[in-house]
Symmetry: C2
Subunit: 320 residues, 2 copies
């Protein structure tokens, strides 16, 4: 008789334990649990939180087509050459697909899938956008908790959510191309705010110097701070100068570890996360309460234009 099949679903504690012992299938399932949310996600999150904090997370963001996946792929190779293990989260807030599926131009990364020192997972939007931002933070902690010393977080676009996700890392790399123009123009301020390292990828094209000058001008106009983001040119497709990109990331890490700002940055981020979760809970509680008669009355008044939305909102929240 064949052996009985392994149980497909394990309780979150068992999943966490197995993942900690090196079971990568358990780790993948744990990330699915986190992505889905709910009670099991809370349990896994609690267990991972206590064991996290020992790793280092690098975020990569930039316009679609900037070559983030190729650069991520090269950085994985650089890290592996140094002997370190690495976890990679490929986050796509606009995609409903996730889990095992590595999408489109990420196929390249699958070369590393046979390497036991590399764990790659894509995460996509399940429901609310902000939820993905919170889920990514938990996923980073899960990877840290199972002992991965480095986590690369690649996001797909340069929208607000992508910027939030990338900005949740310890070092944030903003990838641009020579002649970065229209596509990024609309979000330059947001990118400048989160960038610790600028990478001009596809630097074999025309316009590298102009792009570098453009970035420098932007940096000069911004508020002075202890760290000035270096601007590194590379050609990820050929691997040219990718080691300098990694060196810039390591310099930023060393600077932050040296002056204590890493601890401050993590504490600030954790407080922000707490506040966001508090807000989400309040939201859920508020919507539950808004089903009541008082809400229905005010809504009817609003739709008849007897009351404006701000006055109605004030009436609904005045008891708080």
């Amino acid at each position: 008789m064949p052996a009985p099949p392994r149980p497909i679903r394990r309780d979150p504690e068992a999943l966490f334990k197995a993942a900690r012992e090196g079971d990568r299938t358990a780790l993948a399932r744990m990330l699915s649990v986190i992505e889905r949310g709910g009670e099991d996600a809370r349990t896994v999150g609690r267990l991972a939180f206590v064991e996290s904090g020992g790793g280092y997370a690098v975020g990569l963001t930039g316009a679609p087509g900037a070559g983030k996946s190729t650069l991520t792929d090269r950085l994985i190779a650089t890290i592996r050459q140094g002997g370190g293990e690495v976890g990679v989260l490929a986050v796509d807030p606009s995609s409903p697909y996730s889990g095992g599926a590595i999408l489109g131009d990420r196929v390249r990364m699958q070369d590393h899938a046979l390497d036991a020192g590399v764990f790659i997972r894509s995460m996509a939007s399940r429901g609310h956008l902000g939820g993905l931002s919170l889920a990514t933070r938990e996923a980073i902690r899960a990877l840290e908790a199972v002992g991965l010393p480095l986590v690369l977080v690649e996001t797909v676009g340069v929208g607000q959510v992508e910027v939030e996700i990338a900005g949740a890392a310890d070092t944030t790399v903003v990838v641009v191309n020579p002649g970065w123009g229209d596509a990024v123009q609309a979000n330059k301020a947001g990118l400048l705010e989160i960038a610790d390292v600028f990478v001009i990828n596809k630097a074999d094209r025309d316009g590298v110097r102009e792009t570098e000058q453009d970035l420098r001008r932007m940096l000069e106009m911004s508020a002075p701070s202890a760290w000035t983001p270096p601007i590194v040119s590379c050609v990820a497709a050929t691997g040219s100068n990718v080691e300098e990109v990694w060196a810039a990331i390591e310099s930023h890490r060393a600077a932050q570890e040296g002056d204590g700002s890493l601890v401050q940055r993590r504490e600030r981020r954790l407080e922000e996360e707490l506040r966001e979760i508090v807000l989400r809970r309040l939201e859920v509680q508020a919507w539950a309460r808004l089903k009541d008669d008082r809400y229905q009355e005010l809504l009817a008044d609003l739709l008849e234009r007897r009351v404006d939305p701000y006055t109605a909102a004030a009436a609904l929240t005045e008891g708080d």
Copy 2:
């Protein structure tokens, strides 16, 4: 002796009254008041709300460089040829500039600035992004309240905020170009959700047919609904086929007015606005409360990793 100078600052009631009587400077100031927020904005908003609802708002969105400003400019001309007056809001969530300044490629629109039947105003981010989305709704109502029967709302990019702002209109036009690829890829789902009319601008370039097929495929895959967004090609730069774009907008308007879905859409939007304002008020109230000792204790526990953020958030909100 010269006459005493006119008072520069008028109270919100006087501003609203003057704007209603056709004073465009007063209208511009009223929009500044709305943009700034605060008590005066509430007063103006209350007055405008009661008088609003008689106009029609058309939102235009699409990737930077898609030609939205040029198309908007042409649509203004088309509307003016029909004899109607029109208000235009050019919304840029990423820019700190606003007010009278018409930015960059919007200079062209200034040709219409001498036309008393056209009122153009740019709005930009003052503080929180979501705030601009709410402020835009109030600005649309202000333009309606002073008697402008049509309002065009042009947003700058295709990020989440831009999509929200454009989606607050009665008809939303999504502008793409032949070969719309990477730049929009990341946000196709979001655009599909809000589009009532697709415009392929710069249709004198290669790839119009492929882009149309691509859009059709997307539309076929999406949930069936009463209205199927038409796909109209044009060359805004020359004015070619822009009248067909306007005709498509008017068809959508007629369809919505005919089957009663416009009323439903506006009611749903108003309820969403109410909920968003309620949430913002709860947020402000929550942060005020979070200064207390209990919060500081839990925050210290969190930073020492004695408690995870979700458990801490539950403890902070359990009394609600």
